[in-house]
């Protein structure tokens, strides 16, 4: 009797699940699972966009070729190197979110308006003075800072969240072209500022040539010949990582963290305060463990995205150069598939990439789940 009841209940649940899932499953089969299987088939063939070549089953030839392809290992190294920036970006996002989660508003509106107008007045005087003595550039930058401070006092952290999110949602073709110009070694903004700082500090340094340089921060390692390392220093990869940091710090991760921190019950903090916890202590012992599910989600997404990333930057900024140092596996797949039209080989590279992503995510999943169970 009990068994029958459970069975009926289970069937009812199953029917409901089918109802909720049907639309999504159909789309999933047509536009995700179907294409996946087709591309898996491609990786065992010599599939190409050239009409003259006959389609042939080549078995594991593509995969064998790939393991001895020195380019593949070089581009895998590049991809992993770019991913070294991820933990820094995520930590910065969490710190920013923790800072911006409370409203940062003074209680009385009249007081806010007064302080904001004082800031604006000082800013106006300061900037006008700088402008009149013929230094419009610092005046411009200070004007933005003063305006940001005034908006912050008036509307609280909402205005900062909005401002910090701007680089992330503006990212795309346009901002990548913008950064390409910024890293121009001769008239770009990066070297202009660095040059002025060096002059001010009386330092005699050669400025990095950014996107034209094969140097890297790990260039001191004894890397193989084929990795075209230009030694220790700032190069094209660092330029792209700086751009990535700029785009990522106030973006989706920060918004996810703000949502997560806002959902932490306030009484946890109150209890910790009674126990005499400091600000750092509260952050470390309450905030960090409480947002663990979000960190877990971000870690998984960042691993997946990082291993597949780098296509847009390489395509728009560097064409994978100099000497292949900014070519990631995604860009390699693109050039193999669409430029050299060797779709079968490109598919096999992507399946190896998938194997790497999948195993890393499994590790993440096992380790993350265990950590979360320990925390609760």
């Amino acid at each position: 009797m009990g068994m029958l009841w459970t069975g009926m209940r289970e069937r009812k649940h199953f029917k409901a699940a089918v109802g909720f899932l049907c639309l999504n499953i159909i789309g999933f089969l047509c536009f995700t699972l179907g294409p996946v299987l087709l591309s898996l088939y491609m990786s065992f063939t010599n599939w190409t966009l050239r009409r003259s070549v006959e389609l042939q089953w080549v078995g594991l030839r593509n995969y064998r070729e790939l393991l001895t392809d020195s380019n593949f290992w070089f581009f895998l190294y590049n991809t992993l190197y770019f991913m070294l920036a991820i933990p820094f970006t995520v930590c910065a996002s969490l710190l920013l979110a923790n800072m911006l989660v409370d409203s940062m508003q003074l209680k009385r509106r009249a007081l806010r308006v007064r302080i904001a107008s004082i800031i604006l007045a000082i800013g106006a005087l300061n900037c006008t003075f700088l402008f009149l003595v013929g230094r419009p550039d610092p005046a411009l930058i200070l004007a933005v800072i003063y305006a940001g401070a005034a908006a912050g006092v008036l509307w609280g952290s909402v205005s900062y969240r909005t401002m910090l999110y701007v680089p992330s949602f503006a990212s795309g073709v346009a901002t990548i072209i913008l950064w390409q110009q910024i890293f121009n070694p001769y008239h770009g903004m990066a070297n202009n500022i660095l040059g002025q700082v060096a002059q001010w500090l009386n330092l005699d340094v050669t400025l990095p040539t950014w996107l034209n340089s094969t140097k890297s921060l790990l260039g001191f390692l004894p890397l193989p010949e084929t990795f075209s390392s230009g030694g220790f220093g700032l190069g094209a990869r660092e330029a792209i990582m700086i751009m990535g940091f700029w785009m990522g710090i106030g973006g989706n991760n920060m918004i996810l963290y703000i949502a997560a921190i806002a959902n932490i019950p306030q009484d946890l903090y109150e209890a910790a305060e009674i126990d005499g916890a400091s600000g750092v202590g509260k952050f470390w012992h309450i905030t960090v463990p409480s947002v663990a599910p979000t960190t877990f989600f971000i870690a998984i997404m960042a691993t997946i995205g990082g291993l597949q990333g780098g296509f847009e930057f390489a395509r728009i900024m560097t064409q994978g150069g100099p000497a292949g140092t900014t070519t990631t596996l995604a860009y390699y797949i693109y050039t193999k598939g669409f430029v050299e039209q060797d779709l079968g080989y490109a598919a096999s590279v992507s399946w190896v990439l998938f194997a790497i992503v999948f195993s890393l995510t499994l590790v993440n999943w096992k380790y993350g789940n265990r950590k979360m169970e320990a925390a609760t």
Binding site: E10, A16, F20, L21, L23, N24, I26, F28, C30, F31, T32, G34, P35, V36, L38, S39, M42, M104, D137, L140, I141, L142, V144, I145, G148, G152, S157, V158, R161, T162, L164, Y165, P167, F169, A170, G172, A174, I177, L178, W179, I182, Y186, N192, G250, N252, I255, A259, A262, P293, I304, Q308, I316, L329, A330, G337, A347, S350, F354, V357, T361
Partner: protein, 292 residues
Amino acid sequence: MKKPPSKDLVRRGTGLSLKFLFVSVLCGIMFLPFIWMICTAFKSSAEVEGAHFWPKLFSPDNIRIVLQMIPDPFTHEYVNLSLLRWIFNSFFVASWVTALQVFTSCMAAYAFSRIRWRGRDQVFLLYLATMMIPALVLTIPRFQIMVSLRLVNTYQGLIIPSAFSAFGTFMLRQFMLSIPQSYDEAAEIDGAGHLQIFLDVIMPLARPGMITLAIFTFLGNYRSLMWPLIMIKDAHLRTVPIGLLAFQGEYGTQVELLMSATLICLIPLIMLFIILQKQLVRGINLSGGVKG
């Protein structure tokens, strides 16, 4: 007589001021590239290569050129772009994708987080696994499917493949897992079915997650490059990134024109984000758990 402010209040005030100072300076640094971009948009072409930000001669000519109000001074021809059309196309496509994707993902996320059924975790792992497949790989077979459905070079071809997303399902599932089970258990005891629990209990509580997903999806599609690049052949169907890329190809050396076009493309997005940001913040504060 006025009481002097307590030590605690002074300390808090200093902390808050330092916080304001830090974040304001950070915002200033983050905005440097944009300041540079805006300044460049108003520079004359002779001035672009200079080290300074502020243009010596502030002129809106570049803006007027890219809006096709005046011809390019060098070629004496109107530049080949239609910014407003691109912006409309991007908004149209991204809105449809967002609406469809949030709808399908929300339903699927409910099935994955709230209903217990056999094989649930296996199917979910399959979803998760396909999320790791590089998008470039899916692009080729997807394109062939769109060819056989005769949807190449249409709006539908841009919208339909993106209307279903494993990412959205995953995100909303994680969000729904953080809603206490006791809510729907209580509703179930009151005799509510799954549809009712979904509509009346979970959907309202998952709204912040849905809004976040909607923003992600909208922005992702607004700036998506690869898929429209393959699908769209006609100039009148171009979205903003495709248009800008073509513009860069044609007028790549004229940075000042490119920056003006970028500036105009960014304005509607910024306005939209300010509107959505308010709603996001309002929805985020899910207060308390189950009470009494």
